[in-house]
């Protein structure tokens, strides 16, 4: 059968896939390729000139970009382990309860996830308010000194991480609970009969069996948090003294305030490269013997 015959025989397949694949090519694949291309140009309102790797040279000698890169790492490596740890603890603690209780808590943890990041940021801007905010009220009522959470360059980033830790993790809890429910109960019962401690069960049975799901959550969480934008835009605009400026926010300001589109594309590419490396490392680290 010639190729054309096979194409003709499979025409129904093309008919069903091409409407989406066409749009996807137009609005996803082409932009990815174009982004690579743009990153090699000095592309702004005044000029569109090919400069090779010039943008990358500019970036890596630009203190603000390096600062944003550092901040983004700090934020991601602050948020992701805290939030994964929280999700694991909640999942394991929730496991022995009956379904109605499980559903109640899962819903409670999931609720912040259907609330947009803009709204969550607006709420926390209010919670962090130094004079009238809820957080300083609690801090004062336990006898500690209130702080200017977002106005202090040493506290602003930890405050953002704290907020993400408190609000996040819901979808991972749902994910991990489902994975945990698929582990046969006799694994745990056998361990108990052998007299294994809860900690032993957790580290020797639960974690290894949840590994594929943890890996998935870890990679997805890293990608999502590395791009953090809305909370920075709403809450700090990168301040004070650029202590919370993230790559995601810097891409936005470079592209859509300074109209330096080539430089912004180069930033996106650096981000993409870092995420690809991180994903690869995480996969290497956790991906070995994930089968069970």
């Amino acid at each position: 059968m010639t190729v054309w015959k096979r194409v003709w025989k499979g025409r129904a397949g093309y008919f069903f896939v091409l409407p989406h694949f066409g749009l996807y090519t137009m609005f996803f694949l082409i932009p990815v390729g174009w982004g690579v291309y743009l990153s090699l140009f000095d592309y702004n309102v005044f000029s569109q000139e090919f400069i090779g790797f010039g943008n990358f040279a500019t970036l890596f000698s630009d203190w603000l970009f390096l600062k944003a890169l550092g901040n983004t790492f700090l934020y991601t490596f602050g948020v992701v382990p805290l939030w994964l740890g929280k999700a694991l603890i909640v999942t394991v603690l929730l496991h022995p309860f009956r379904n109605s209780i499980k559903t109640f808590y899962k819903a409670l943890f999931y609720l912040p996830h259907v609330t947009s990041s803009v709204i969550v940021s607006m709420i926390w801007l209010w919670v962090f308010n130094p004079t009238y905010g809820l957080l300083n009220y609690f801090v004062k009522s336990v006898g500690l000194t209130p702080a200017i959470w977002l106005g202090n360059k040493f506290l602003a980033m930890p405050s953002l991480i704290f907020m993400q830790f408190i609000m996040g993790g819901g979808s991972t809890i749902v994910l991990l609970s489902a994975a945990m429910a698929s582990i046969p109960d006799y694994y745990f019962e056998a361990a108990k009969l052998e007299g294994a401690s809860s900690w032993k069960v957790f580290t020797k049975i639960t974690i290894p069996l949840l590994k594929p799901t943890i890996l998935y959550a870890l990679i997805m969480g890293t990608i999502a948090n590395f791009q953090t934008f809305s909370n920075i835009y709403i809450m700090t605009q990168g301040g004070p003294e650029f202590s919370t400026i993230s790559i995601g926010y810097l891409v936005y300001t470079t592209a859509f305030r300074d109209y330096n589109l080539g430089l912004a594309s180069a930033m996106s590419m650096v981000m993409f490269g870092i995420l690809a490396v991180l994903g690869f490392l995480q996969f290497k680290w956790l991906g070995s013997n994930v089968e069970y």
């Binding site: 409407p19 989406h20 004079t131 994975a179 993409f272």
Partner: protein
């Protein structure tokens, strides 16, 4: 034995305490949003704050609804979220069906491209996508807001994974009975795939309603902002009027919270599709 039982019980009680503390911490900010929204504006600048409002009022919402743009933003959000959801459901179901059940040259290549691209962060396409949409003269239009959302790859992957498990015999039986390709899709594939479509539809709707970055950059005029981008405008305009801002936040969050409770079954199961073997 009884000592062991007591130990188990106290362990469970301790678990419940820890779970409740974590859960409350995540819930309190949302509670605080609603409580602030129904307080008289003057009471927000009071210390210590009133944790359980004695005189709830709707005056903040009244003030919110006096701004005509609020309704326009709501309309925009509704139009965008419904359009993207409808088009994603239609096109992703079609594409998923094709990639799961049809054999044709390049089908594997197409599927591999979808898989490989799912890990690409959104911000990589942001700048070129903006230039592209500008070249199509779709800046500040509904098309510009909608089409990039429809092009997202995840739904195709989700539907394809679901449809692989549909027995091929059913499709062949329909063909033998003389059903056309489209009729088979419409009468057989769609009804079987409704559970997966529900998951995709709900998640797409919530994600589009809550999206901020794309509407922020693709719209110029205040009239074309979605609710999320509009809220950000209000935040910039009156940063200290917390009661007013929280009424806006509550208003924008409420539809999603209602959807969550109406479809909680799907939320609490749905995200697992594709992640667990």
């Amino acid at each position: 034995m009884t000592i062991w039982r007591v130990k188990q019980k106290s362990k469970l009680a301790l678990s419940l305490v820890i779970l409740t503390v974590f859960g409350l911490l995540a819930f309190i900010p949302l509670y605080w949003m609603v409580i602030t929204a129904i307080k008289p504006a003057s009471l927000t600048m009071q210390f210590p704050p009133e944790l359980f409002p004695k005189n709830p009022t709707l005056s903040n919402f009244k003030e919110l609804f006096q701004r005509p743009l609020i309704f326009r933003w709501t309309l925009n959000s509704v139009i965008v979220a419904f359009s993207v959801t409808f088009l994603q459901l239609l096109l992703c179901t079609m594409a998923g069906y094709s990639l799961a059940k049809k054999r044709f040259p390049l089908s594997h290549v197409i599927f591999s491209i979808y898989i490989a691209s799912m890990m690409i962060p959104k911000q990589v396409t942001l700048v070129p996508l903006y230039i592209l949409v500008a070249k199509f003269a779709m800046i500040d239009t509904y098309w510009g807001l909608i089409l990039p959302g429809v092009a997202a790859p995840f739904g195709v992957f989700l539907m394809r994974q679901f449809m692989v498990s549909i027995p091929t015999e059913i499709i062949e039986a329909a063909k033998i009975d003389g059903a056309s390709e489209w009729r088979t899709f419409y009468r057989i594939i769609i009804p079987i795939s409704l559970p997966a479509m529900a998951v995709l539809g709900i998640f797409t709707f919530v994600a589009e309603w809550n999206d901020f970055l794309w509407p922020l950059i693709v719209t110029n005029t205040q009239q074309m902002k979605t609710l999320q981008a509009g809220l950000a405008l209000l935040q910039e305009e009156v940063p200290m009027q917390y009661a007013f801002l929280m009424s806006g936040a509550t208003y924008a969050a409420l539809p999603m919270i209602l959807i969550f409770f109406a479809f909680s079954k799907y939320f609490l199961k749905g995200v697992t599709v594709g992640a667990i073997k």
